[in-house]
């Protein structure tokens, strides 16, 4: 280990030297607590701080809020602002590890240019904890009290001097002129870190934690926590690994000019999973609490192969109710209810098309609009840039993020098949801000498109098999590409049956295409509606879509089922099929959640350990049916 000695009397000069080329951000007192802030006066630096209100790396690298895009009418791109060089000075081991976990989120699967620019310009001077804080439990996860990796320099307080370990070339530059550490210095360092380690008595037994939690999803402790928790979300605001954010467009009074901003958000908040029509996917506090706790203690590891909790203790310190992961896990361990064998969810292999800037929407023009029902339209788009259009391809069942600037962005599945060249289509129901704004647009108007994102229908695995489509309402839109796909490759698939249900005949989509679909060889289309208004003609079935199951003729043993519709419909489709002896391996569902990024960053679409945007939106039911808390 390469290490040097910095006498405490020299600290001022050392920091002053860093300040010549860098903005130095370090811990300073605020009331009885500490915060990381720009160091104007070295005297203000409090290196004996216990913890800070917000974690330094998250505060200065993730940033509580920032502008993603500036626009006027149609998009005007904004490149990340050049940040000057900075040094985060005196970062505890837990917070450094928190940063390394954030790196996994923001630097992998579509690297975030804004985060990346700041990350690359920030040097880290870590600080080992020789007198650990009282709420921390970093030793449980090997994320403290001393830092092993990820720093440029790392300090250890040895009384009258700091030992300075070098972790990078950048760090080596900074220590020029310091004397090398002696053997005695090393001994003193190791001794004090060992003592520190022993002082940490709070502990979570991390072995097999994921399985234990999974098995105890219904443990009584969660109801106790629900009664106490104030749902204030402070635990997530202060957590060094919480990455979730929301995205919103703000306009000035011209109503044209504005910016798209992101801001920290929290899964503890009721509105976190809100979509159009005020539908909330996670409507109860107990589930939200579990989303947080499980995410910290197991999901994060499953998603990013990095710790979701680094044991900094902030969530406990900041909680008026002192809701404490250490205590909760201890309670479960004292009285575990291991009712079933569980297998932890593993996300599918990443499928990412590397792009320059994942936040930059491409302009697309509306070529035509076709009214499907009173509130549903099919839009045919083409990218303004012919090269982008030429290169654009996608699998059936994936989605785009569609922007109306000044209104917002919405995740919407593509309703055309990539066989259609030169254009692509979306079939959209006007229900929320973005979709209502889309409904106001006309041919020739411009929108922003990011995508395609996610995994679609398993058109490869389906080859040689019978295919059963079960769609409800607007859920036919993401399945239409499959129909087109099979039509174009008819002999590669077996029997093909389409079951489609709607509330009323008036709500049926793509009605002018049914004749064509019926003409596809060996294909049958069955329709049903919940009710037929008086005076309306209807020659088909009446009842929910599952009533059509009695009519199907595909070979159960050799069929793949694809279903999409409202959650409640898919729930009954799946239940009914399972009851009839179908297997969860052969059923695929397409899920909808709130989505603010599409690129596995904002966290809005999380359903347990699953990112609906990148692991889905299409899932094999068998892969997700055992998620803690279930699917529907």
């Amino acid at each position: 280990m390469e290490a040097y000695i910095l006498p405490k009397a020299e600290l001022g000069n050392f920091v002053a030297a860093l300040k010549k080329d860098n903005e130095v951000l370090g811990p300073v007192a605020k009331g009885d607590e500490y915060v990381f802030a720009p160091i104007e006066d070295v005297e203000a630096l409090c290196l004996d701080y216990d913890t800070t209100i917000l974690p330094p790396a998250k505060k200065f690298i993730h940033m509580p809020g920032e502008v993603l895009y500036e626009f006027e009418g149609v998009v005007e791109g904004k490149t990340p602002e050049k940040v000057g060089k900075r040094v985060l000075f005196g970062v505890h081991a837990c917070d450094l590890n928190g940063l390394l976990s954030l790196d996994k989120v923001f630097l992998e699967t579509y690297p975030d240019p804004y985060y990346k620019a700041r990350r690359e310009n920030t040097a880290i001077v870590a600080l080992n904890c020789v007198s650990p804080c009282s709420d921390g439990f970093c030793a449980s996860f090997n994320t403290g009290p001393s830092a092993d990796i990820g720093f440029d320099l790392c300090l250890t307080d040895l009384g009258d001097r700091y030992m300075v370990e070098v972790g990078s070339n950048k760090g080596r530059e900074m220590v020029k002129g310091l004397n090398a550490a002696s053997n005695e210095d090393f001994i003193a360092r190791n001794r004090s870190l060992r003592v520190a380690q022993q002082q940490i008595t709070r502990r979570i037994d991390a072995d097999n934690l994921g399985v234990l939690l999974h098995q105890n999803y219904d443990h009584p402790v969660w109801r106790e926590v629900k009664e106490e928790c104030l749902a204030c979300g402070s635990c997530t605001s202060v957590c060094p690994t919480c990455y979730c954010f929301g995205v919103k467009d703000y306009v000035d009074l011209t109503l044209e000019k504005g910016e798209r901003q992101r801001f920290w958000d929290s899964c503890m908040f009721y509105e976190f999973s809100r979509v159009a029509m005020d539908h909330i996917f996670v409507p109860d506090r107990e589930t939200r609490i579990k989303q947080r706790m499980y995410h910290k203690l197991t999901y994060y590891q499953q998603q990013f192969e990095a710790p979701g909790c680094v044991g900094c203790g902030r969530c406990v310190t900041t909680c008026i109710k002192r809701i404490d992961p250490v205590e909760i896990v201890a309670k479960i361990q004292a009285d575990p209810k291991p009712e079933k064998e569980v297998k932890l969810y593993t996300p599918p292999e990443k499928k990412v098309k590397p792009e320059l800037d994942p936040w930059e929407p491409q302009k697309a023009v509306i070529k035509s609009i076709k009214q499907q029902t009173p509130d549903v339209r099919t839009y045919t788009f083409a990218f303004v840039d012919p090269e982008v259009q030429e290169a654009y391809t996608y699998d059936p069942g994936v989605f785009n993020m569609i922007s109306v600037f000044g209104v917002g962005e919405s995740a919407i599945s593509i309703s055309s098949c990539a066989d259609l060249k030169g254009v692509f289509q979306h079939t959209i129901r006007a229900v929320g801000n973005v979709t209502n704004a889309l409904a106001e647009l006309k041919e020739g108007d411009i929108v922003g498109i990011r995508g395609p994102f996610g995994f679609g229908w398993p058109v490869e695995e389906m080859k040689g098999k019978d295919v059963l489509l079960v769609a409800g309402g607007i859920g036919l839109a993401p399945l239409r590409p499959v129909i087109k796909y099979i039509q174009a490759r008819r002999n590669e698939y077996g029997k093909f049956e389409i079951l489609y249900g709607c509330r009323t005949p008036e709500g049926m989509l793509f009605t002018d295409e049914y004749d064509e679909w019926r003409k596809i060889p060996d294909t049958r289309l069955h329709l049903t509606v919940d009710l037929v208004p008086p005076g309306c003609e209807w020659g088909h079935c009446i009842g929910v879509v599952t009533t059509l199951f009695n009519k199907i003729s595909v070979d159960k043993a050799n069929t793949v089922v694809l279903t999409c519709g409202p959650d409640i419909m898919m729930k009954f489709v799946v239940l009914d099929l399972l009851k009839r002896g179908w297997s969860p391996e052969q059923i695929y569902v397409s899920l909808e959640r709130r989505m603010s990024c599409g690129i596995k960053k904002c966290g809005n679409c999380q359903m347990g350990p699953v990112f609906v945007c990148q692991d889905g939106p299409v899932f094999r039911y068998a892969d997700i049916m055992d998620l803690p808390g279930g699917v529907f």
């Binding site: 607590e33 104030l230 009721y270 509105e271 008026i320 209502n436």
Partner: protein
Amino acid sequence: MAKPTIAFFKFSSCAGCQLNVLNLEPVLLDIVGAVDIRYFVMAKRENFEGPYDIGFVEGAVTSPRELMELKKIREECKILVAQGACACHGGIPSVKNFSGMTQREMEEKVYTELWDLKSFPAHGIDYYVKVDAYLKGCPMDKDEFVMLVKSALKGLNPLFRYHSVCNECKLKENNCLVLTKGIPCMGTVTAAGCGAQCPSLGRACEGCRGPASDCNAASLARTFIDLGLSRDDVVRKFRKYAGNTPEFSKGAEAV
């Protein structure tokens, strides 16, 4: 396109919200440019009859005359906005609802001339009519007002977020009053949007914006008792600005 017409009305309240509209410099002129203010007795000499596109109503409803007017206003306004704590939840006037006195006793306490006075418990306006949007707070937040106007002009739902005030407090890295000073702050259960104004000045959140969207008032009431508040004090905390709401009532009833 003709500019949307706007009207401001006032019932039982202090006029603080309307004053806040006038305090909107420097954007006030831009707003005046974007809309046509047809009725604003506090600010204009010339006022016009409805209908209006957007009506902002300040104040609680606590008399038959106010109720009659409110119903007429509702009919006249395409979008009706409850402006400020009184119109949203009953606000300070609603303190009387929990005084334990009869309506007449209260009237006698406040007024000397009682012959033409007729009042009933104070409620927010959505107790009586459909409300399309809310501007919470005492007084309402100016930025939210501007955001709402812009959203209305664009035909959007402003999608205000009513998670707890603590979120804004944490982002400012305030020392939490409850944790560092034992001060009974209502921030945890109160709807955000004010930028944690009071806690940022070292003063407890009073709950003027009403309950947060996931409000666990009963749990906070228990914390207040632990902090040494009397039962009556806890009740007063939850009955101050939004005592009418079921969420805050749970706090008042928990101890």
